[in-house]
């Protein structure tokens, strides 16, 4: 049992001294509005509303669930939890009876691409749900799904049980819970065993390289949070990846065309920079800050946020009504979709929270104030580009705002949970004495205890 406690008074005084980037209160209101929207997508039994997806696909259900899960990560309130449980139960039921999903890719109810998309969406949602609630049923469902996916496309850092286990632990930690030590140990074990596969996957492409770095960074961060010592070869592999990603990014020109790759590199380096307990993270963080500064030039002009080309896969996976055929066609045709990409401000928020001065605070507050419309939403793709354009735009804003809120809330929630643990589980006598003293004080003040 590791007990940690830092001075609360310290925190309180520091929070007095620190200024706020944006109004947390209005951000919460916006997330509550999105929760209301998400509630409309889901029926009373956790199924998908007809207006959201006429086919009632499991993928749509999981995507709506992800939206609610992220909202809950940011708000931490009982209403979002209630809705989340409703969807979680329904999704688990459907996974268990293979309704809308073909585990093992051996049936013919879904095309392989559809089935693949459903696999990833559901696994992602279940890992979020497991992270936020600790629901073991979801854990076993998500591992089953990953098993099926691995069987189809082979092991890669992205398609692995370790990536899901780490992401659950990470979400739990971000939402103020503890890390899942056993899961993280299992993930460390898995990556150690697949060491050569990671190297091979990274050597394949720029995308592979950045994906591996993201994965390794999150794994190392989760093991640090869980108090586990990762094997030295994994740390060494991570360090090498940072150098490779920086070198590969160096050769990219800062143009709109290269934006999808630039943002991938920035995302990987930001994850790497979050390992502040490892010295190499500084290199990653400093490069990420420099890169963000250059990308920001593409991203906006004055107070206007510009449309930038995003890869089909980065966008279509969030829209349940995109058909598998269209996805395949567009990928093959190399289509790029112009979007207002909220990933950049989200990454900046994460970098800032690790103490890296990006100098782009105004970009963050500009974006937050632009997307924080209490009525309606800010449209992030051109009209007609996506069938579920509103869902896409709202989900992207939820990702940004909930990350922002969770980072703001994290110290408070961690402190609160540690103190509650002290008051209720490890030192109940304090609670008893406090009650006693308060009772004496109140009785004396109201005159029932005179002397």
């Amino acid at each position: 049992m590791v007990i940690r406690l830092t001075a609360l008074v310290f925190l309180m005084v520091l929070s007095l001294a620190a200024g706020e980037v944006a109004d947390v209160f209005s951000v919460r209101e916006v997330l509550k509005a999105d929760l209301k929207y998400a509630d409309g997508l889901i029926g009373d039994d956790g199924s998908v509303a007809y207006s959201f997806d006429p086919e009632g696909s499991l993928r749509a259900q999981a995507l709506a669930g992800s939206m609610v899960a992220l909202i809950h990560m940011g708000l931490g309130d009982p209403e979002s939890l209630e809705l989340l449980r409703r969807i979680g139960d329904a999704v688990n039921r459907r996974v268990e009876s293979e309704d809308g999903l073909d585990l093992g890719f051996d049936g013919d109810i879904l095309s392989d691409v559809d089935n693949f998309l459903t696999h990833t969406a559901v696994a992602n949602f279940l890992s979020e749900y497991y992270g936020l609630t600790g629901d073991l049923r979801s854990r076993s469902s998500m591992l089953k799904i990953m098993q099926s996916l691995e069987g189809k496309v082979g092991w890669s850092p992205q398609v692995s049980k370790s990536s899901l286990l780490v992401s659950s632990s990470r979400i739990s930690f971000m939402a103020g819970g503890g890390p899942f030590t056993d899961d993280v140990a299992e993930a460390l074990n898995e990556v150690s065993n697949q060491f050569l596969d990671v190297i091979e996957f990274s050597a394949r492409s720029f995308e592979g390289l950045t994906t591996s770095l993201s994965h390794l960074s999150m794994l190392l961060k989760a093991s640090h949070e869980a108090g586990l010592e990762p094997p030295t070869e994994i740390v060494a592999l991570w360090s090498v990846h940072i150098d490779y990603v920086i070198n590969a990014t160096e050769s990219l020109e800062i143009t709109g065309e290269n934006y999808p790759r630039l943002i991938m590199a920035l995302s990987a380096l930001t994850s790497a920079a979050e390992n502040i307990h490892l010295s190499q993270s500084r290199v990653a963080g400093e490069y990420a800050v420099a890169l963000a500064g250059r990308v920001a030039g593409l991203w906006r002009s004055g107070d206007r946020i510009l449309l930038l080309p995003a890869g089909v896969l980065d966008v279509y996976v969030f829209d349940p009504r995109i058909s598998a055929e269209r996805l395949l066609e567009d990928v093959q045709a190399g289509v790029k979709i112009p979007v207002v990409d909220l990933r950049l401000p989200t990454l900046l928020v994460r970098l800032e929270s690790q103490g890296f001065e990006t100098g782009l605070d105004n970009l963050i507050s500009l974006t937050i104030s632009k997307v924080s419309l209490r009525e309606g939403y800010l449209q992030l793709v051109e009209r007609g580009a996506l069938p579920s354009e509103e869902f896409y735009s709202r989900l992207q804003r939820v990702i940004l705002l909930s990350t922002y809120l969770a980072i703001q809330r994290a110290p408070t929630v961690q402190q609160r949970n540690q103190l509650v643990q002290i008051f209720l589980s490890s030192h109940p006598s304090f609670t008893i004495f406090l009650t006693l003293l308060l009772a004496v004080m109140v009785l004396r003040r109201i005159g029932l205890l005179r002397w």
Partner: protein, 391 residues
């Protein structure tokens, strides 16, 4: 049993030792394989016996015994003060110790902070209750404690100890020391003049007369005196702020934004401002009213009453404001999270009590006596004070 008896104390200590030993020996038995653990809660129960309940009962016994050694000389003040100092200093030390590699020291520090300290305070308070009831029943008089006027300084030190890690930060000086000094300075320069003004205001109409009914009593800087007096400024500050915030909250105006900690801190800061400004009236003026020995004689109705502050200000320090309004405030700030609300309330009270007590101590120590004389003198100079025999 009407006074803290040493027998009870000894019995409590034995029970505490027994509880702790049971915890340790059961753990040893489990480790050596003599016993098999059936479920996880037994482990936490053993932890509680070893580091929480056991030490707490022992400490309570020690505090009870100490209070019982010289009950009539208020020895219960010692365990109470010691408890506060132990709690706050071990809390401060544990900031540096709470790492996995220091398991035992960390657990001991937590035990001192959350079990031993509170147990000593509780023992002192309960002993005080028992002794004072006994004294009130028999009509005896408690003798003063030889260290009573030094214990208040110790309590103040205890309140400041958790802030030591902040000694390098400006925030400490801005939020804790500066408000205390400003409040005291305000009281020091204004309290006597304000009191004279308030007393004379009514005399001018000619309906009342000020009567020197008793000789003025001098305030001492004893522990109970400082603690009970600093209650007024603190409660007033809290009352004003929380009432105001609740009203604004009803009107959907957010005065204190941000995360719960900064919102509570913001509200506490507003309370400090209220202490600095408003407490002149509920603090020193009220104390001077009590200590001057002056009565107001109503010439029309032929009744004599002690001078009092306005009833609204009095309401602000009443218990309901003190207990319920802050809870309402922290609920609004903590979004319905009860444990968080209580933690925030504790922090806000620490902040306010520290400031209020510092200012009160400084006032009673350096200003009260002078003010008492200057108020009487200036009332006499204006011929507003009548002798009791002349009515």
């Amino acid at each position: 049993m009407a006074e803290p008896s040493t027998k009870t104390a000894a019995a409590l200590m034995v029970v505490g030792v027994a509880l702790s030993t049971t915890g340790f020996s059961l753990e040893a038995a489990i480790r050596s394989g003599l016993l098999t653990i059936l479920s996880g809660w037994i482990v936490s129960l053993l932890q509680i016996l070893q580091f929480d309940l056991g030490p707490a009962v022992i400490a309570f016994g020690v505090g009870w015994m100490l209070s019982g050694l010289h009950p009539m000389r208020k020895w219960y003040l010692y365990p109470a003060t010691a408890g506060l100092i132990i709690s706050t200093s071990s809390l401060t030390v544990s900031n540096y110790l709470l790492r996995p590699e220091f398991y035992l020291p960390a657990v001991v520090m937590l035990s001192l902070t959350w079990a031993v300290g509170p147990a000593l305070i509780a023992a002192g308070v309960l002993a005080a209750l028992v002794v004072n009831r006994r004294v009130a029943m028999t009509g005896a008089i408690l003798s003063p404690n030889p260290h009573e006027d030094k214990l208040d300084v110790l309590v103040l030190v205890g309140l400041y100890i958790p802030l030591l890690p902040l000694a390098v930060s400006d925030a400490l000086y801005l939020r804790y020391l500066l408000p205390a000094v400003i409040t005291w300075a305000g009281w020091h320069f204004l309290a006597d003049r304000f009191t004279v003004y308030l007393l004379l205001r009514n005399v001018k109409h000619g309906e009342i007369e000020l009567v020197a009914a008793e000789p003025p009593t001098l305030e001492e800087t004893t522990l109970m005196n400082v603690v009970s007096r600093s209650y007024y400024p603190m409660a007033f500050g809290l009352g004003v702020t929380t009432t105001l915030t609740s009203v604004l909250d009803l009107l959907n105006i957010r005065l204190f934004g941000g995360d719960p900690f900064s919102a509570t801190a913001g509200a506490a800061l507003a309370s400090i401002a209220a202490i600095a400004v408003g407490s002149l009236y509920v603090g020193p003026v009220l104390w001077l009213y009590e200590d001057l020995g002056v009565r107001i004689f109503d010439k029309v109705r032929r009744v004599m009453r002690p001078p009092s502050i306005h009833s609204l200000a009095d309401e602000m320090v009443e218990i309901y404001t003190f207990i319920f309004a802050p809870i309402g405030l922290t609920f609004a700030v903590a979004d319905g999270d009860l444990p968080l609300a209580l933690i925030l309330l504790g922090l806000a009270i620490h902040l306010l009590l520290t400031i209020s007590m510092t200012a009160t101590y400084l006032y009673i120590r350096f200003s009260a006596q002078r003010h008492l004389h200057s108020v009487i003198r200036s009332l006499k100079e204006r011929g507003a004070l009548t002798d009791l025999t002349k009515i």
